[in-house]
Amino acid sequence: MKRLIGPWMLLLLVGSAALTSRRAVVLAEGVPDAAAAPATTPAAEATTPAAAATEAPPSGTSEAQPPAPEATPVPKPSSLPLPIDQLPYRVLVVVGIAPDPELAVERAAIIPGLRERIASRLGPLWDAEVQLADWLSPGRQSVLESFSEADLNDRFLPREFDKVFLATVEQAGAGVRISAREWDRNSQSATAVTSRLTYERRVLIDRLLAEVLLHFRPIAAVESVSEDGLSVELRIRGGELLPPDPDLRPAVVGSYLRPYFRYLDRKRQLRQLQTIPWTYLQVTDIERGRMQAELTTAFPGILSGSRRRTELMAIVVKTRFEETALRIYPRGQPENPMAATRVDVLDRRPTEEDAVSDRLVLYTDRFGDVRIPANPEHPLQYVYVLVGKGVLAMVPFIPGEQPFATLDVPDDGPRLLVEGEIAIMEAELIELVARREVTMARALGYARAGKWDQADPLVEEVKHLPTREMILERLDRIRLPAIDSARRTRNRVAEVRINQMCNQLREHIERHLNPDRLRAFLQEIAELKQAG
């Protein structure tokens, strides 16, 4: 049975102009807790400092900050509630053109050209407004990069646009650099800036539009979740509004979306946004505005269950970068990233039949970063973080969506420490057993030859070798503090693994340091002595 979110809830999205610009950062009840949501995207992370900056903007940063909202006429909301798949995107395209003399000719042509191309290629899908913005001056890539998500939220939430595309055009040597990014109202998120050079001024406007469209992230509302929680039904915004250019449909089969929760208050106002990390929906079927999608997530059942006053939305994921630098750090210790950690990147889940031997094996660098290349054939990759003999984390991930991401994993320090101690003890155990056997053999050899002056010291040496009890006691001295530490940090995985390792070694110790062997040896020596 699928859980229906209800079309009335979707309709409320239309009136989202009433949403507050305040960005909630506190987790709400019923959302995955910190342990269940180990990773956050940089966009989400960037919220907190940006929000703080909003409350008390630092002096001297006015150049990088967008100016106060202009008195631009706000598009009037539709008077009739339409289904989401019939709603166009209200889009604002803001272009900043650098005051480079080489761009004097293009300056006048860009805005009208862009309007014309948007209308001709996107048609009803976009209700677009194109502006040349002075506040993006001097129209360079660095200006785009200077805006945080909070800046953009502050600037555009009061306005009625669903999507705002920021683009700049600047001269770069013999070419022209085009940069763009997108801000989305529904998810209150922004894409990272992309940039490319073009040397063909005749197609500058087409390239500019292409750069803008690269950032276009359609949104969809999840209408129902299957009982097993592995597939969903969605309606995509504008799905019924076919654009003239068929390549610009909001989604196609195989597209990926990332779901997120919107928690509303009693007045149906957005109270909080909750991203769902390491979770993707892959479109398996499309019928105009309706879509079927399968869920891939690091958190089974994450979409199951009923939630009051909660919207489950999804936003399309596109790969815009060649790679993503994924930073891995122990939970709660972002200042101590995990260097030299093995990260396996697989394009499919391993099974008993297929261990995925063609996996990409990477190691994190000194900053805990691993650069995962985007894979156009298999956008969704599976990232395994391995430490020692265990898997520390396994998450699905679409590299190339953003240049940088973070992944926090359980702290494996206590287990790793034990693994080292165990490795050393194993080697010492082998050495001890080998020495004991050789010494006993030598002693017996001398004893049988009646050379007691040589045999006796060896017998004494055997007697003074560490015993099983001594080794076991040492093992406990390693195990108990480690277990205690893991329990204190509620690191159940580490606790289990520590116990496993210690128990295995215990078995070896008990088998190879059996005191019966020593007793038999001493008895044989005693008999030889009596006989001699």
Partner: protein, 878 residues
Amino acid sequence: MLWNGTALRHPQRAGVPALPATVRDRWRRGSSRAGLWLVLLLLSGPLTADDAQQTPPENAPPQPMLQPRKLEEMEVPPAEHFLDPDPNSARDWIVLKTGTVIVTLPLSPRPNTLALRQQQIQEHQAARRGLSGEKLETWRRELEKLRFLDVSIPELEPEPEYRLPLDQIDRIIHHEDQWLLRIDQLIADRNIEAALELLGTLQQRRPDWPGLQTRTEDLIFVDGDVRLAAGKTEEALMLFEEVARRRPDYPGLPAKAGAAVDQQIAAALAAGDYRQARLFLARLNQIAPGTPVFQKYMADLAQRAQTAADRAKELFNAGRLAEAVSAVEEAARIWPETPGLASTYKSIGDRYQRVRVGVTRLAEQPTAYPFETEADERHRRLTQIPLFEIASFSGGAARYRTRFFDEWMPSNLGRTMRFTLRQTRQPWEMQPTLLGWPITEQLARRLDPHSPRFDERFAGYVQSMTVESPFEFVIAFRRVPPRLEALLTEPVVAAPQRPSSPAGEAREPSAEDAAGDAQAFPFPAGGFELVERTESQALYRRHIPEPERQRVYHVAEVVEKLYSDPEAAVTALQQGEIDVLPSPPAWIVRRLQNDEVLKSAFFIQQHAIPETHVLLFNPQQPVLRSRELRRALIYATNRQGILEDVLLRQPGGSQGRVVAGPFPSNSRANAAGVQPRPYDPYAGFALALAARNSLAAAKVISGELPRLRLLAPPDPLIREAAQRLVADWGVIGIDAELIPDDDHAAYAAGRWDLIYRRVQMTEPIVQLWPFLTLQPTARIADLAPFPDWLKQEIIALDRAADYIRAEERVKLLHRHLTDEASLIPLWELDQYTIYRKNLRGFPVSPVYCYDNVDAWIREATLEPAGSVLASLPGGIAP
């Protein structure tokens, strides 16, 4: 009785066998007149013994007849006679005043038998005073007895005992005298072999015999003459030196010695080997002062030296200082005693100082060893100047100094560091005065991932660099480095490089890249520049010369002279050919320390840090991932034995010690309680067996362990030690071999299992990581072969925020590296550099041999006139 039996038992004298009993009885019966009769008979002509008896006994057997012969008729026995071991074959000749010779058994006492008897008589006569009566009679009898010489004449057997009045004896030619006569004859015949044999035998039997010494001298002299005639002039000269040592006034010696050296000096001069020529002249002069040969060559050499000295002056006045020094050194080499040369030498040598260093290997020589050799390190320290360098090492910690900064002040709890550059430099300093940007440019290259000089660790620390003014720049750190100076020990100034040599083929790729990078982005110029390189020496010259009109000048050139081995180098040091001997072997240091004369001529400076020797495993070799195998190798290594036998050559030597880690034994990085594993071949054998089984079970090997290949530096001594290591492992059944030094591709191709490293780990916190990964810098990717837990410990050390925590972590790492048997610590050796005492300015406790080289001052002093003779063992002074 004058002739009582007791008094006449002379046949029992030492060296002469006892006579038969019958002979002794007859002797006792003999009358006192027998001797007299014998003399009379001898004086009157040939007689028989029977005639000598007044009343011959009836039925007596016929007596043998004495055949007196004249001395001229006597023949010296042949050489074989004297070599006869039978003592009864010896005969003395008593020459009577008539010229007749009586051949007797050896007399006693001898030699000087007659003189001794005369002395006895005189002493006896002196005892006459105060005697009377019976005593006087006894005295008279004894005097009478003394006036006769008892002889035993073998010719007159069976009654050979007779007495001869002393006053009839002219002289006695003893058996040994005959021996010497035979030697004389052999020497005259130039039969050196036989004469030497006779002389040797006589010396063994009667080393005190008069004339023996003379014959020895004659024999040596003639031997020398024979060799001289055969063209063996050096051998002849040595023999003449021996003669001179024994008897300086030996007749004819000067001429012969002159002839012996004449050809050799001529050859040495033709070869331009003036030192050798002077050596021959000095030897000749010691043999015979002032010979014509000496005068001739001395004049020639003095003339040549004067010419060279004059040329040196001209060059010096023309400002061609290096050439002037070469010329004046040439003059000093030719004839140091040239009048006026000493002052010329000093004025030129003090102005342009050239230090000569004796080495056994030059930099950039091809080798299979992929890491910096000792020669390469010397080259680096001469040609490159780091931002910070170690000034001293005390209390287990290094202290740094810099040539470039007036101060460096931390702020923001160490997260930023402001460097204020020195705006002046001393005229003698080898570094230029730098502005901020050349330094930051070099540092920035270490931050650029696309640069061959990229330093991942440094890039991890540095957040930004800002040049705030020409003499000030600021580095902001992401993390506070526990020891900033240790991070900034890379060079920022270097001498211009020559095109790389073929030796580069065997270098690490990164080093090549860095060299290429250095050529593409050159360092600011300074240091000592390699300006000339031949097969026998490398010449480094100060890149920034000292300006004129200085009160004191410093070393301008360093010449590394190549010697075949350390012994040759130390000989050169003794001869004054070189001024510095870096890193001599332990036994040479001991020798110099124990020789008061040598000790007074040199400074023997022990370095602040010993050199630690360690074996590292190839992390890519699957078999060496077996801890059991690694432990087996450690237990099987007799480190103490190899250290004492090969490296120290002294049992229980104190100049080296077995260590438990890669750090100096006094380093703070050493964890308490970590001891070197004992030499226990049985444990090694057991572990090798366990390793073999576990590796076979894991299908890493099919049965036997593969042959392990050890890569060692090209130093012969180290390779000898490495050969011993290989032999030790063979004892427990681990087959191993030393990779030949000409297998230059072995390292790059991965054809190695263990590598011998020499390290002075002054800053383990920084140095340990690249040391373990065998790379020039600390890179995360190089940690891949290590187990995760060890990897994280190494990273944790690198991330230590303060020095105390870093020390704790390095100690933990030391303990775990030992437990894990990640390396085989071998030993550490105390390092020394020997400086001639005309050098000053070097540190009392240098860290490296070229410490403060630009501050060195070499006082130009001509080597002593006799120093050329120092090469002769023991000298030849009489």
